[in-house]
Amino acid sequence: MEDLLEQLGLNFKLVFIQLVGFLILYVLLKKFLFGRVMEMIQKRGDEIKGAYEKNENIRGEVQALKAEYEQKLLDARKEADDVIQTAKQKAERAGQEIIEKTRQETAQIKDKGLAEIEQEKKKVISEIRGDVVSISVEIASRIVRKTISSSEAEKLVDDVIKEVGRMKVD
C-alpha cells in the first residue's frame, strides 16, 4: 500500500499545499469573477424587469388615455350632430314661419286689395248713381222746360245714355 502510494507520487504535504492554493483561488474567483458577474447579471435582470413594468404601466396609461380621447371624440361628434340637428330644425321652423307669414301677409294684402276694389267699386257705383240721378234730374228738367218732339226726346235720351255709357267706360 505504501509502495503503491509512493508509486503514484502521493504526498500529503503537497496535497495540503495544493488544497490551500485552491482555497485561495476559490476566494479570489468568488470575489472577483463570480461575485461581480452574478451581481451584474442580477442588476441587469432587475433593470430589465423594471423597464418592462414601466412599459406595461405606460401602455396601460396610453390605453386609458386613448379610450378617454375616443370617448371625448365620440361625445364631440354627438354634440356636433345635435347642434346641427337643432340648427336644421330651427332653420326649418324659421323657414316655415317665414313662408307662413308671407302667405298670411299675401292673403292679407290680397284681402285688403279686394276690399279696396270693392269699396272703390261701391264708391264708383254710388257716384254713378249720383250722376245718373243728377242727369235724370237734368233730363227731366230739360223735358219739363222745353216741349220737344218725341224724336228729339228720343235723341235726348240717347244722348243721355251715351253720356252715361261714356262715363261708365271712363
Binding site: G9, K13, L19, L29, L33, G35, V37
Partner: protein, 273 residues
C-alpha cells in the same frame, strides 16, 4: 517511478533536440530519467531537479508551480475582465459573462435553487481543472492534474463541501443515510462509509489517471516523431493534441458534474423519495 523506462533514451534525445544545446541537454536527460514526460521550463533553467527546496525536490514542486501559474492566470484574467462592469457587456466582460451564465445553467439542472450558493465553488473547480488540463498542451508547461496530489486536494474539498452542505441543510438528520435501512445498520454503516470515502478517491484517481495517460501518450508520440530525410519532423502527435483537448474538457466536466451531483444528493431531503 519509471513507468516507461525503455523509452527514456528516446525522450532524452527529443528533449535534447528541443533544447538545442548540449549543456541543457544533460539536465533534460536527467529529468527524463524520472518518467516519460515532455520537458518543462524548469528543465532549461540549469537547476538540479533533485535538489530539495523546503523538503521537496523540483520535480515535486513542479505541479505546484504550474498550479500557481494557472491560478494567477485565472485571477488576473478575471480581474482584467471584470475591472469595469458595464451594463452592456462587450469584449472580455461578455466572455466571462457567457462562461458564468453557461456554468450557472449547467449546474442549475442539477442543483436547482441552490445553484447560486454553490456556483462560485463549482465554477472555480471547473475553470481551474479545465485550465490545468489544457496547461500541459502549452510547450514547456505541465498539467498539474497529472499528479495525484493536485487532484486529491480538489477531491477532498468536494468531500468536505458536500458533507458540510448536507449537515447544513438537513442537520443531524443527514447522518441518518449512513444507516439507511435501519434493520441492516451494522452492515450498511461500513458500506456507506466506504462508499463515501470512495467518492474523493474515485474523483481524484479518475482525473489524475486520464490526464497522466493523455500526457504520456502525447510524450510518447512526440518521441516517436519521424524525421523525413533526417531533419523534417512529421508532427503526427497533433492528432493526439485534439484528443487531449477533448479528454481535458470531458474530465473537467465529469469532475464538476459529479461534485454537483454529490452536493445535490447530500442536500436533498431523503424523506421525499
Amino acid at each position: 517511478m519509471n513507468p516507461a523506462g525503455n523509452t527514456d533514451h528516446a525522450v532524452a534525445a527529443v528533449s535534447q533536440a528541443l533544447a538545442g544545446s548540449e549543456a541543457h541537454g544533460e539536465a533534460v536527460a536527467k529529468a527524463a530519467e524520472q518518467s516519460l514526460e515532455l520537458p518543462s521550463f524548469l528543465d532549461f533553467m540549469g537547476l538540479d531537479m533533485h535538489h530539495e527546496y523546503f523538503g521537496f525536490n523540483l520535480h515535486e514542486w513542479l505541479p505546484v508551480f504550474m498550479s500557481c501559474l494557472v491560478g494567477i492566470v485565472l485571477v488576473c484574467f478575471s480581474l482584467w475582465a471584470t475591472r469595469r462592469m458595464e451594463r452592456i457587456p462587450r469584449g472580455a466582460q461578455a466572455f466571462v459573462e457567457i462562461i458564468v451564465e453557461g456554468l450557472y445553467d449547467f449546474f442549475n439542472d442539477i442543483l436547482g435553487k441552490q445553484t447560486a450558493q454553490f456556483l462560485p465553488y463549482l465554477g472555480t473547480l471547473f475553470l481551474y481543472i479545465i485550465l490545468m488540463n489544457f496547461w500541459g498542451l502549452i510547450p514547456f508547461m505541465h498539467s498539474p492534474t497529472n499528479m495525484i496530489n493536485t487532484t486529491l486536494a480538489l477531491a477532498i474539498t468536494v468531500f468536505f463541501t458536500y458533507n458540510v452542505a448536507g449537515v447544513k441543510v438537513q442537520g443531524l438528520k443527514y447522518f441518518k443515510h449512513y444507516v439507511d435501512p435501519l434493520f441492516l445498520a451494522p452492515l450498511m454503516l461500513p458500506i456507506h462509509i466506504i462508499g463515501d470515502l470512495a467518492r474523493p478517491v474515485s474523483l481524484s484517481v479518475r482525473l489524475f489517471g486520464n490526464i497522466t495517460g493523455e500526457d504520456l501518450t502525447l510524450a510518447l508520440l512526440v518521441t516517436l516523431t519521424p524525421f523525413v530525410f533526417g531533419w523534417i519532423p512529421l508532427p503526427f502527435h497533433v492528432i493526439m493534441i485534439f484528443m487531449a483537448l477533448l479528454f481535458s474538457t470531458i474530465q473537467a466536466t465529469v469532475f464538476t458534474l459529479l461534485s454537483a451531483v454529490y452536493i445535490s444528493l447530500a442536500t436533498e431531503d431523503h424523506e421525499e423519495h
